[in-house]
Subunit: 251 residues, 2 copies
């Protein structure tokens, strides 16, 4: 059985303001927790449904080796703590990683997302960036919280391997990168053919949200735009698909 | 006010068996209905929240020109008919299109999806196929229903422009295509580099679901496999991202 105070703490972590206050977030499901265990992230608690010990034996062993607290809960406890209706029987409280812009100025390109608000899309972009070995992601102010449970879930654990910097002023952030000789690249409908895009490490690839596009101030900072050629009648591609196609191109 | 019988009919259409029985499905939101109006699909009813007439004036005019029934509902009616919590104030009942395999044997490649069960992913794949002008999609038995509201929504109206064939025996369907000299191509982790894939009209691109992959019988029919190169530690790409990258390559 888990304590009342832990239950309260978990339900608080379902709100962004408390995640920020405590610097912790919730990860649900086997895959995400396995990836957290493999990463350098600090896992504060793992909570497992008592009658599913066998299913999660492998995780339990690894967690015990790392001296991570494991709590077992009853089915009754679940009503308080689960964040999804299909609760997978296991969750963890994980310390948020805190990256500065300097942490991202390594030899690898940077993906910059302006006001992306769909958590599934953001999780998929994080997973795709991880597939292509691109470690650096900037999120503008007004973006969905990357530590929301749905983002972590759709990232399939990739969230533990990406350097995510939360910008409070995206225009200033991009200006800072420009001063450090980063090239600022984006997509639009009238750009050069994406096929001629060449990968360079000091590049920032900026993508706007599907609903808002890029802000005018941000557009003014862009040096080159490219277009993903299409033939159909639909007006646009899903954002995560566009990011995937660009990352495949520069890989 | 809308009638009790229409309300009942709409709530029935939220279940797959009734969609099949009536050959109708629900489309919610401005974008989807605009696309339905542009397409050759038959719209049976449009239902609009009474106090949102102004917002949907353009749709109302177009629907009236086409002699489509428009019903206005109250906020109270909404509790019975809305399929999402963020009800956009407008929905339509649309006749399902019914394609045979022969309809898909035109000069364009075919996308074949085996047991894809995520409605958001399927909608995104339909939208992406439309972007790249690929009109033909086969869904295997055991796939998510493409006429589910969430699929139509994430397709952003592209569902009205695609020829979707619902196979009852995907192995037999692919065998039939093979007999007609279609080449059967797929992705795996040990295939040729995707960069050398060349587009040919008589090609079937088969993709499995993320959770199940391809069935053994289906794998036996594949003639060529390709790999999307990656560098990170994540095991796989999201299915819709993989499809997007392949379609961009063959476009």
């Amino acid at each position: 059985m888990i304590s009342q105070s832990l239950k309260k703490h978990i339900s608080k972590l379902q709100q962004k303001k408390y995640r920020k206050e405590f610097g912790e977030f919730i990860v649900e499901g086997k895959k995400g927790i396995e990836e957290a265990l493999k990463s350098e992230s600090e896992i504060i608690f793992i909570i497992i449904e008592g009658n599913k010990r066998e299913e999660f034996q492998d995780i339990i062993q690894k967690a015990e080796k790392k001296n991570i607290n494991i709590e077992y809960c009853t089915n009754k406890d679940l009503n308080f703590i689960k964040t999804t209706t299909n609760y997978p029987g296991i969750m963890a409280i994980v310390q948020m990683s805190d990256y500065s812009l300097d942490d991202l100025m390594n030899k690898s390109p940077i993906i910059c997302l302006d006001r992306v608000n769909d958590p599934g899309n953001l999780g998929t972009i994080i997973r795709t960036a991880d597939w292509f070995g691109i470690k650096n992601i900037i999120l503008s102010e007004g973006s969905v919280d990357p530590f929301m449970d749905k983002v972590a879930r759709s990232s399939m654990g990739s969230i533990f391997r990406e350097n995510i910097f939360l910008s409070k002023n995206i225009v200033q952030t991009v200006l800072n990168l420009k001063k450090k000789n980063y090239k600022i690249v984006s997509l639009d409908l009238n750009g050069k053919n994406l096929e001629i895009l060449k990968s360079a490490p000091k590049t920032v690839y900026i993508f706007g949200s599907e609903s808002h596009g890029l802000s005018k101030d941000l557009r003014n900072l862009i040096e080159e735009t490219y277009t993903i050629s299409g033939a159909g009648e639909t007006e646009s591609l899903n954002l995560a698909i566009s990011v995937g196609i660009v990352l495949n191109k520069i890989f």
